[in-house]
Symmetry: C5
């Protein structure tokens, strides 16, 4: 289930800048993967301990240090100290409830955002990804193993892809682009759900659909919270004058910005559509109630008067006391007249109902 | 059907700038039409292969290269290479789900937008049109043959129209203007539907109307997504300081901007009106329910008490056991008194209902 | 009826700047009225043909050329050529669906706006008025004869009014002010309708009221579309640095701006109130439904159980077969006991309903 | 009653700047009160005629000229001429429907705003107050006698209050502050009404409450129209660079600005709450309908089947013709069995309803 | 109970800048706590009278003067005079209904905001906290004892925390940070309530839930009013160029700003969710009404026609008078046929209802 507000209380009262893991309790071992490359060479390995990646800070090659697991904050602190990451940014990395943000500290650029995964059945899995990149290193922090970066890895492994000829900024861009691209996948999935639900609501609305609509609504609230601040992040990135971002990366950042705008557009459209779903649901329910009422009214309107008529001829007025008392009862065709009256009343009312378009 | 989010997944994971066709699967042959003209001369032809248009890049005449079909991306790549179009713009051309945008690259100006066609019965057909224009060429990319540019073609073919005396920028403007003009046609058609529906909803609302309202709503969402970003596009165009846009074209661009504002105004008005339709529908439904309830209540309120009365005189109290038991039954005018009571109760209730304005 | 989108299709495909009349079909003769004045002299006449007013362009007196009828576009073209009005502005004059706008071309200032008339019974009549003013002439274009400028004419005819001592800019201001003043008259009329409707809705809502509400809503949409862009127009007018606008006219322009803001405020207030009307209507309807339900429930709840009781004593259990079968029937006071039971049940239920505040 | 749009028509067609009283018809004599003071001296008197205050224009003492009654426009014109107030500002003073505004004419500062009075039972009384202040005079125009300035008067009369040591700008500020302070009183009164109404709506909603809600809504619209433009007025006042406003008055103006923001905040909050009231009302109504339906359903569902059962045993099938015809009627315990069936059905349905939580 | 508008009337009419306590009546003694520290030393004590803290104004150590209780305004006035706090700021401190604000007076920085406490059962307790800090002192004013600063106190008491090495600005920041951190606790509590309520509303909506929803809504209005202006406050703080704020505190202020944005985001999300709760409630209610109607309709539709049938055979047509009168009554299997008809009608209707998905 997607909680809308991450538990923040654990860190309450601690000094600002204290690196405290705020998120689900995890016990998995933290894994550290390195991809180190330049135009011609490529090295990939899984590190034993965090200290092993320190040497890459000042190497001439581009190094991607990917850390799966931020619940062991000592890693973040050690890395932070060696790579000169500000205590507050270290805190941001460990706080999985943080809002997407972009910060240019001069020495490095810090970006934190949400990676969405439509894996699970009952919703969307959100993972916080923080990216720190300097002159020739990119450090990415994820909450756990498994990500949307496989395509980036494959591109790096190829012989002569563009990524191998460009710097750390382009790699960082490629990672963010992969995350944003994945938003489309998530939104497509939601779009399909919305369209299916819409058809179902018009034809056969159930009380359970209300829960589905509300779950969708919450999902959109959740996604919106994750994606909305990205507009600002992308804007800052696009406008940044940091030396860490090369001119030839700029068009890609502008392209990224446009993609994010499109994601936000789509999210807003879906919010509108989901609000519309509630209208359809309510209107379908009220339509059905209308139909129920019509059936009741038709039956009651026909048979209550007829019941009265039958009641009349079931009365025990003493026919022997007076010729005025229920003379119909002793008519030769009395019973047949009765049924004719019944048919006339019944058919007359049916015609009335058809005129009213209730039938 | 107008999908709200184009399938984007196919291109996921590819390197940014990879020219991948994102859109409906098509098999038609791509056609390439050339109109090459200056003040005095005019040449029109259909090219065999894309390379045949390369010669026009640096000719002194104005050349309009119109490419119907972007599913064969090799054309885009070849053209892009020869005319110096940036890889990311090539990607934009092939991505039919792209947001309208304006980009001034210095060498050329790139515009992408949606062409709407009210052709199909069940909705609006949207086609992506990208326009690239440089000093004396305009390249337009469409998804398939058939467009709204026939009037522009006819104007070019005339002997001395304004378009023949002006540059590539004016031609590009004329194409965009033709697309925007067509939005009015689409909106008029929707306007007619809205007005018809409104009359129908007030007089005789059906459950199907809800689907129509919702379909209209989605159409407006779709059109809005296509048109809204044009405001920004037109603004950029109006303010551009590119040398490719001549001063005498500027007033036309401002005029275009105003037209787009008017289209957006109309779209917003329609959105308001369509929301209003839902209110009318719901209120008509609830009004009808009210009428159903009234009929039920009138019939039941009259005949249930009367039924009770008939029931009373159908009771079998032993009149012989006591003079107090149902003495009415043996009255000479008992039955007539009964019917008088029935009439008095019935008419009294009818008067009551008329007072309540239920009749 | 107030159409929300003017038919625009007629002009589709024509070259931009083509002066095409877009509006209702008209056959009346176009009339041209001239008022030419300075501080001491005044001349008023109706011209035979458009060329007769050309002489006034460079006269030292202030000349007001009022053209009633824009369906004969040749007049506009001739005037335009002589007075140097840009082709696009000529197109704007002839397009009755144009958005209010202000344009300063250097030689002249062009303003187009809507004149509203509350004349007709079933709504508001809108007429497009375009005003072009230069150094000492004001040309006003109306769709047909009959306008809100009579007060301005009377002021000019007086011996020493302010208008006679000021330039063409003040005259143009006076015309616009007359149009804006008239908006208040239209809004007052709508305000009265809204207040009447409100009283009616609370006391006695009818299904027809829904149509009235919706018609009001559309009227407000229409008026809003006409008036909203005026804010921008007035803003531009207020800030203009054109030499055509004298310093001593500026305070009047600021005053005009404030009036327009007030009109817009009122329009927004009315929109709010009309939305509120729908709430009142729906709530009144649902209240009435509630009352209908109460009557049904009271009657049914009292008489259905009583009917059952009467039914019980109408059963034919064989009293002779067993003393346990319906012994009540042969009691001396059986029938009287029955009526007492009926009264007790009836009165008991009435007390119950009064407790529930249904009576 | 608070009219939302003041009749503006009377002044229609008059030349701009014509000083015409626009407001309720009044016949009271206009009164003119003078308070003239400096640090040591104080003089208070009621003037006979407007000309008597002319002498104070250039006196070195601070003079507060308070005019109760603006329906005699000759006073305004005479004052205006002597104190150099622009014709358009004179018009603003006389137009009681004017929007709050701030204008710095260089020679004097002109402010117009609404004074609200919660005096009357059925709503809020609004009075237009215009304040003109120059170097050492403050002229205030009110619609009639009776205002919220008594506290200011008392402060001036005291021996050594701050106001006596400061200039006309501080006095003007003190008057505006008194008006704004009074808004809080009005809003508190409305807040109490809202809270009472809320309690009533939850416990016992009546149809009349809808009218109360709507009246509150209109009141808020009215107050909002009066107060909203003050934000801008206060902003202009705070930022003004007029020499008429001393530096030591500035912090007070900023404080005033904050108060106005707080008033606007409260107004917005109340609007939200009043919208919420409608939701509560509608939901309470629908809840009550639900209860009505439940009672009807419980009674009908129990007694209609029982009525049928009684009807069965009231049938006249000829028991003598066949042993299969209604054999129950001649059973020894038939009637007792019947009542047992009645009890079983009745109790069974009651249990069913309790399970459904309808009881 | 959280009142939405603090009684402001008590101070009405007083001169601006008059320090008047506006808040709940209190009688507790005001307590004054001092923490005075530098890098190496620490002194904590409770002062007897306000004058005892005057000596700390110019000491080289950082001094935190915490005053619990602002109802004794003489303390504020004495402190204000000694520390040079402007009269208007003194007024702000005493006015518990003040809007959060930031003011840089040059000599000191003044901040006022709300401290929220989720202590009480029936809502949220709000307390006004004003913070004044100068070069080496921080004065905090609270309404009463008990606050959220214990963690800050503990950090100061530790041997070598960061706070001991930094100035008064950092201490002020730490206090504000503690208040903002506590907002998360409050919001988490509300979040839990919302989620619980949501589950309850879907499964079993009660009329009381409406009151809970409305109470939540009011709470959010209240919190929003308290928190929303903080965005501006934090923005001013972040951008301030005051010498009182050191460069090394700046990143902490930016971090604070982000936290506040996140709080506001969450508040907005909750407002959305609470609006959604009302939709769920209304839809659940209408769903239940639907179910009630269905039960009524099923029972009535089956048994009213059957009752009519039984009524028919209860009629007393004289079978002896004619063979056409109720011949069914004397059939051998008449009663059995009757029950078969009953079963056929009953089962047929049940099948009909199942088809309609009412069962």
């Amino acid at each position: 289930m997607t909680r809308l507000i991450k538990k923040h209380s654990k860190s309450k009262g601690l000094k600002p800048g204290a690196v405290v893991y705020v998120g689900e309790q995890r016990t998995e071992k933290v894994t550290i993967d390195i991809i180190d490359y330049n135009e011609t060479e490529l090295e990939e390995k899984r590190l034993e301990k965090i200290e092993d990646c320190f040497e890459f800070k000042d190497s001439s090659t581009v190094t991607w240090i990917n850390i799966n697991g931020i619940h062991d904050v000592s890693n973040i602190e050690k890395l932070g100290e060696h790579f000169g990451i500000h205590a507050l940014n270290q805190e941001d990395i460990a706080n999985t409830g943080h809002r997407p943000k972009f910060e240019d500290s001069g020495e490095y650029i810090f970006i934190t955002m949400k990676m969405l995964n439509p894996k699970s059945e009952d919703g969307i899995e959100s993972e916080q990804v923080s990216i720190v990149f300097g002159k020739n290193y990119v450090i990415s922090f994820q909450e756990k193993e498994g990500d949307v970066f496989d395509h980036v890895r494959e591109r790096i492994r190829k012989t002569k892809p563009r990524v191998r000829f460009m710097g750390a900024d382009y790699l960082a861009y490629a990672l963010i682009d992969a995350i944003v691209d994945n938003y489309f996948v998530v939104l497509e999935k939601i779009g399909d759900t919305v369209e299916e639900l819409e058809d179902e609501l018009v034809s056969n609305p159930e009380h359970e659909d209300l829960e589905t609509i509300y779950a969708l609504k919450r999902q959109m609230v959740f996604i919106r919270k994750a994606i909305w601040p990205l507009r600002e992040v992308a804007g800052s990135m696009d406008r940044t004058e940091s030396e860490l971002v090369h001119d030839f990366t700029k068009p890609y950042l502008r392209d990224l910005y446009e993609h994010i705008i499109q994601v936000i557009d789509t999210v807003e459209t879906f919010r509108d559509m989901i609000s519309g779903l509630l209208d359809i649901y309510l209107s379908s329910i009220s339509n059905r109630m209308n139909q129920v009422m019509k059936v009741l009214t038709i039956i009651a309107t026909i048979f209550i008067p007829l019941g009265f008529l039958a009641g009349v001829y079931g009365m025990n007025f003493d026919t022997s006391a007076s010729p005025f008392n229920l003379p119909e009862l002793s008519l030769r065709y009395g019973y047949i007249f009765f049924w004719m009256a019944v048919l006339i009343i019944g058919i007359g009312l049916l015609i009335f109902f058809r005129r009213k378009k209730w039938l």
